[in-house]
Amino acid sequence: MTVGHVVVLAGTLFTIGMLGVLSRRNILIVLLSLELMLNSAALAFCAFGDMAGNLDGQIMVFFVIVVAAAEVAIGLAIVIALFRLRVTVDTDRVDLLKQ
């Protein structure tokens, strides 16, 4: 078990999350995939922190978790508001950014 192994594991999870974002139309699953990506980044942080020999990496992960919590709260709130407005959670039908 080396740092490289952990980083590649993190990369794999990140790629899977990315594919989830790309291929799913259900906005809830898209959000879940985003969480997956965030977590893989946290994993990589922890591995590099181990290599650096101090706790900074772990503290960074802690902050990532904080940010993720905030992001989920807001994201889900947006999903609810969106659903109330359009009665859908289909990303393809939410294209207001075009305007």
């Binding site: 974002v21 790309l22 939410v94 207001l96 950014l97 305007q99």
Partner: protein, 623 residues
């Protein structure tokens, strides 16, 4: 001592700013008092310096440090206290104080008197900056400040279109001349690597500047003289000065006597080492050209003064003429004499202007001499002080002008400028003629105006008397003043009164007076006859030698054509072509991008994102 100089320099600025930013203070009676206090303070300072400063003192601070490892420049603010600046400070302080106090009466009842005094104080600040400056950049900065404040003061009556025009004219003409000045400064900096006067003087006197450098220095000196010619209103930049009479009379007095026009002469005296009469180095071409311009101005202005009907315009042309004398003296290398004439002239010209102001005030703002007259009895104090001023100006023994003008003639004689000597002697006669004309038209004969004239109040006659005493007595100090100034540079040959020249010039002056008496008092109709006899000459003088018309023609036909062409180029090529083209290109590109890529679909954005990071990773691998 230098601390005092700093305070003295910035006090008027503080006053001006305070009056300017505080509307309540501006409206109150405190504003004029504060301004007057700062000028009186300058006067007191000058007296203190006069008696306690024996060695030149300097103090400077780096205002902007633009040094680079290889060179660069430091822009310094500095004060210099030597005989020259102290003498000039004395003139500015004494004359300025008298004028400031006089203005208290003259501007009474003007609703925006606070604004007037704020501008006045700013003007004095700019002038003090020139007086104290110890380097070229600082003098240039204050030079421009004088330009701005003169613009503000000439256009003080902003309701009058002619005043606004005159302000603009003064500013623009000065700007043209200042351009030459700036180039001159830069050339000298290129030659010596410094802006400071003492460094430059050292470099010049070390004699390192010979050959091409010497020639360049001569050119630079000439360009500096052009700057001085702009402020001192020498031919061909003199056109702004008569128009500047549109400002209130105290402004004209201050500008003509102690500040603006004196600045040019002072600056040339300050930088005289560039003009080649010190240290045995001789590239006096610039000086000779200067003398020539001075003589030309003196003579032309005197002839133009002969046909003016506005009392202030007569005095304005006489100022031009006297400045011509000073510049001639500078050109002859006698800058101590020139500074002495500047001093005496400051006193009697301020006096004459203030008398004119008193007349204008007493006759309810009438300044056309054809509608004045007979004021001798109505305004006795003004009459007598005007008479003293006139005698001083025309050089009647023993009034101030006699001594200073005679010294100038002397200097011209010694330098063997025979043509200029004759011209200036003739000009002395003309001076007597036009002054006699103004005198007789204003104070003798019958009163031709409508409103009843009255003598001015004490606050106005007081300064008149003070200046009259100065004008009458200043001449006796000719030896002292020269001696005092020689301590500054130490190589001036002191001049003494040459009796034979004095007799000749006095004789010419008396002829002028006699002619004036005959044509304008005894037989006024004869003057008309003479004017009719030489209609071409009369018209030439009335049109001021068509110089203004020539400038107008240049602006209208030459400059206008170029401007029209430039505008077409700008509109068609730059705006339509380049600016418009850029806009069109950007809009088209933006439109294309928006339609192609901005679909609002998150998935698509995520694709682009993934492609981006993949590209980054690939780049990292490849590199």
């Amino acid at each position: 001592m230098t601390d005092l100089a700093w305070i003295c320099l910035f006090a008027p600025l503080v006053a001006a700013v305070w009056i300017g930013v505080s509307p309540r203070f501006r409206a109150g009676a405190g504003a004029p008092r504060l301004a007057i206090a700062t000028v009186l303070f300058a006067f007191v300072c000058s007296l203190i310096f006069l008696f306690s400063v024996h060695e030149p003192l300097q103090s400077s601070i780096a205002w902007m440090d633009l040094r680079t490892p290889g060179g660069g420049i430091v822009i310094e603010l500095g004060v210099i206290l030597d005989q020259l600046s102290i003498l000039m400070l004395l003139v500015v302080g004494a004359v300025g104080s008298a004028i400031f106090i006089f203005a208290l009466g003259y501007m009474k009842g003007d609703p925006s008197v606070g604004r007037f005094y704020a501008k006045f104080a700013l003007f004095v600040f700019s002038m003090l900056g020139i007086v104290f400056a110890n380097n070229f950049l600082m003098i240039f900065i204050f030079w421009e400040l004088v330009g701005v404040s003169s613009y503000l003061l000439i256009g003080y009556y902003w309701q009058k279109p002619s005043a606004v025009e005159a302000g603009k004219k003064a500013f623009l003409v000065n700007r043209v001349a200042d351009f030459g000045f700036l180039i001159g400064i830069l050339m000298i900096w290129q030659l010596t690597g410094s802006f400071r006067f003492d460094d430059i003087q050292q470099a010049v006197e070390a004699g390192a500047l010979t050959g091409t450098s010497g020639w360049t220095l001569g050119l630079a000196a000439f360009l500096i003289f052009i700057g001085a010619a702009g402020k001192s209103a020498q031919f061909p930049f003199h056109v702004w000065l008569p128009d500047a009479m549109e400002g209130p009379t105290p402004v004209s007095a201050l500008m003509h006597a102690a500040t603006m026009v004196a600045a040019g002469v002072y600056m040339v005296a300050r930088t005289f080492f560039c003009f080649g009469w010190t240290g045995g180095v001789s590239w006096g071409d610039a000086a000779e050209v200067m003398a020539l311009f001075g003589g030309l101005t003196a003579f032309l202005a005197a002839t133009m003064a002969l046909v003016q009907n506005d009392i202030k315009k007569v005095l304005a042309y006489s100022t031009l003429s006297q400045l011509g004398y000073m510049v001639m003296a500078l050109g002859a290398g006698a800058y101590a004499v020139s500074m002495f004439h500047l001093t005496t002239h400051a006193f009697f010209k301020a006096l004459l202007f203030l008398c004119a102001g008193s007349v204008i005030y007493g006759c309810h703002h009438e300044q056309d001499m054809r509608r004045l007259g007979g004021l001798r009895k109505k305004m006795p104090v003004t009459f007598w002080t005007f008479t003293v001023g006139m005698f001083a100006l025309t050089g009647i023994f023993p009034f101030a002008g006699f001594w200073s003008k005679d010294l100038i003639l002397d200097a011209l004689h010694e330098r063997e400028f025979h043509g200029l000597f004759l011209l200036s002697t003739l000009t002395a006669g003309l001076t007597a003629l036009y002054m006699a004309r103004a005198w007789f038209m204003t104070f003798f004969g019958k009163y031709r105006g409508r409103a009843e004239p009255h003598e001015s109040p004490r606050v106005m006659t007081g300064p008149l008397v003070f200046l009259a005493i100065c004008s009458a007595s200043a001449g006796f100090f000719y030896g002292g003043a020269q001696g005092y100034l020689s301590r500054w540079q130490g190589m001036v040959s002191e001049l003494d009164i040459n009796v034979s020249i004095a007799i000749v010039s006095s004789f010419v002056v008396l002829i002028g007076y006699a002619a004036g008496w005959y044509f304008f008092f005894r037989k006024p109709e004869k003057a008309e006859t003479v004017a009719r006899r030489f209609p071409a000459l009369h018209r030439l003088l009335l049109h001021k030698y068509y110089i203004d018309d020539f400038y107008l023609w240049v602006v209208r036909s030459v400059q206008q054509t170029i401007a029209v062409f430039c505008r077409l180029f700008e509109e068609r090529v730059i705006v339509d072509g380049m600016v418009g083209g850029t806009v069109r290109a950007a809009r088209r590109a933006g439109d294309g991008l928006r339609k192609r890529f901005q679909t609002g679909r998150i998935t698509q954005y995520a694709y682009v994102f993934l492609a981006g990071i993949t590209l980054l990773v690939i780049v990292m691998v490849v590199l």
